[in-house]
Symmetry: C2
Subunit: 388 residues, 2 copies
């Protein structure tokens, strides 16, 4: 096991401080570079994205936008309004444009939904993505449904349905696959839940990681977005930052009842997309891009499956089942997650997410993203070094 | 006077339809290019920006971001959180960071303020920027203060103060210079208004066009942002899209009471800046950039003054006094603004903003932006052709 030098101990304390300042999220790579330039970050395994899709997007972007000088248009002019971009997406998603709300990242949509449609009580499974409970307005009751460690923090479906019936919240949230553990509900299971819970005003299904999940050997894309006419209480959210590794672009969309979209657009959200996000959405819906994206999506799923299988062979950690592009890793044997995070960052240049701030986890955990094959190999080698 | 051919008449009808679909704002250049590719737009005099500042920004951007390949970092990674970017701006603005709220464009800040802090009644001078009344929540009373044509739609200061005292709104809005007419309140006048109206909960001063205003021959930058500790009810908003012509980047900030900033950040707005906006704010606060920007800002003001003086010599239009980078132009002699807008667009490739949808204007108006010297000369020549 590596031991810190005095200067590394100082660095470890600074890392801890930056994390504390960032609250329930992680400090950005920019912040690290600016405040701790002595850190040599080799792999960002905190960032949950498909690096091959980022490469693909950048190829198109460089060719079509940078090399042609069209970047100026994207920076200079007003982007299209929300409804115009919704129209671009509608055909591709096989939905009516009136069902689509475009967001400045999925997090803006979470905020819009929770601020505008959650009136009394929101029931949230924990551990989960913190914004769902942090964004609840004053006066809204937040009820937690603790996912059980002995069930690998997966949802106990019948228990969940009973709990919702008992609590009668106006909003419930299902992240599928869930963050931070990657547990997955199949389409059949979700349909069962949604059917049973027809009385809940807002059922949010967050599909931000759905492009990495699979139910068959063809790895066909899954989505419940098209259920929105059948289940008018459904709100399906999607961040684009994970599939494409374009968190700096800020692009996401929500699929919901037409009345909900028009309520939101009536008093806001007119120009909430930037020029790059508009370009992204136009590209995303193009057949040539979609064809190429599908190839790198499946390639990445296959590599992620292999990465997770290899991680499971490493001693002194427990790797939870995941159908997302990350795994929840429990540290066994008494070392704290803060220590492991600093160790990986300082000695190996690997940035992983501590889960100390995640409510609902019992034990010491980190969340580890699957990156490129070469990066995954480096992570595996470093983990063997640290944990063996 | 030019007359439309039958195909041009069809085009004129299509332009009108696009405008109607865009509601109280203007269709974007993207929308025009996509839906009416036969239009040859030479000058976008609808877009209110300093083209020299856009050039300057693009020089830096190309050199520092595109040529170095750093564009990838801006697109791929999560940008910094709201408070981190506020800290970058604080020193430059000579303010405490806790007073600064970063927005995805100023329009997001308008929405945030009006949704969160306007509870009962908002008093709005008309004509004005429509979002201030459109974004009022259900249940909020919107009261209009009609600016008078015989006063060139400028504010009658004492009359305004009396009206506010009488109406007792919780929110008032002063856009300075005002949009769409460019009328300007001096710093002394504003201080008088703000002092008299100490009882109003939220006084919004929108300084989106303040970089084009001047009170002395050195054209020194003006702002009331630093009054925020003295007047805790003040909220100073600023779009960056006008000074820098970077509407596609979506960058703005608001200066307000610390408690207001923390209320907003408590339940949202965490990652509402994109990677380009973060780069912009970091650049904006750098001494080398600020020095160069100041030169092009003053150059543009001087050219705009000359442009407005020349416009005033053209017959059959009335040019309203303006200290912004645009003028309100009244069309005299019976031709409608819709006709003029189509004529300028189809025959001359000049895109100007119709003011038909602006409430509070009596007559036929267009709003015309000052552009580069060459573009302004082309506009002048075309206007002489159309109106002489």
């Amino acid at each position: 096991m590596a031991i810190f030098t005095p200067s590394e101990q100082v660095l470890a304390a600074q890392i801890l401080k930056l994390k504390q300042e960032a609250g329930s999220h992680s400090p950005s790579i920019f912040t690290f570079k600016q405040k701790l330039p002595q850190l040599d970050i080799k792999v960002d395994a905190c960032f949950l994205s498909n690096p091959y899709a980022t490469e693909l997007f950048l190829e198109y972007f460089n060719h079509e936008i940078v090399e042609t000088g069209k970047i100026r248009d994207l920076l200079e002019w007003y982007p299209s309004q929300n409804a115009v971009i919704a129209e671009i997406l509608a055909d591709f998603l096989k939905l009516k444009p009136e069902h689509i709300f475009i967001g400045n990242g999925a997090i803006e949509i979470i905020q819009a939904i929770v601020h505008n449609f959650t009136e009394k009580k929101i029931l949230i499974n924990i551990p989960t993505f913190s914004s769902y409970y942090e964004y609840a307005k004053e006066g809204v009751e937040v009820v937690y449904n603790q996912l059980l460690k002995e069930h690998d923090y997966a949802i106990d479906i019948e228990g969940y349905i009973s709990r919702v019936k008992e609590e009668q919240p106006d909003t419930i949230v299902l992240i599928n696959p869930n963050n931070p553990n990657g547990a997955y509900l199949t389409t059949d299971e979700l349909r069962h839940i949604v059917t049973e819970l027809h009385f809940v005003k807002n059922i949010i299904i967050d599909e931000s990681f759905i492009h990495f999940a699979y139910e068959d050997k063809a790895f066909r894309l899954i989505s419940t977005g098209n259920w929105v006419e059948e289940f008018p209480n459904l709100i399906v959210l999607k961040s684009m930052s994970k599939d494409f590794g374009i968190a700096g672009v800020r692009a996401g969309y929500g699929i919901m009842q037409k009345e909900k979209v028009s309520t939101l657009l009536k008093t806001g959200y007119l120009w909430n997309s930037n020029g790059l996000a508009e370009y992204f959405f136009r590209l995303y819906t193009r057949a040539d891009f979609a064809y190429n994206y599908e190839k790198v999506r499946v390639k990445y799923i296959l590599e992620t499956m292999e990465f997770i299988a290899d991680l499971k062979t490493i001693p002194n950690i427990r790797v939870y089942p995941s159908k997302a592009n990350f795994v929840l890793v429990e540290i066994i044997g008494g070392r704290s997650s803060a220590e492991i995070v600093s160790l990986l960052l300082i000695k190996y240049g690997i940035y992983v997410r501590t889960c100390e701030d995640k409510i609902g986890l019992q034990g010491d955990y980190i969340r580890l993203a699957s990156r490129s094959k070469a990066e995954n190999d480096y992570i595996l080698q470093s983990f063997r070094d640290v944990f063996q």
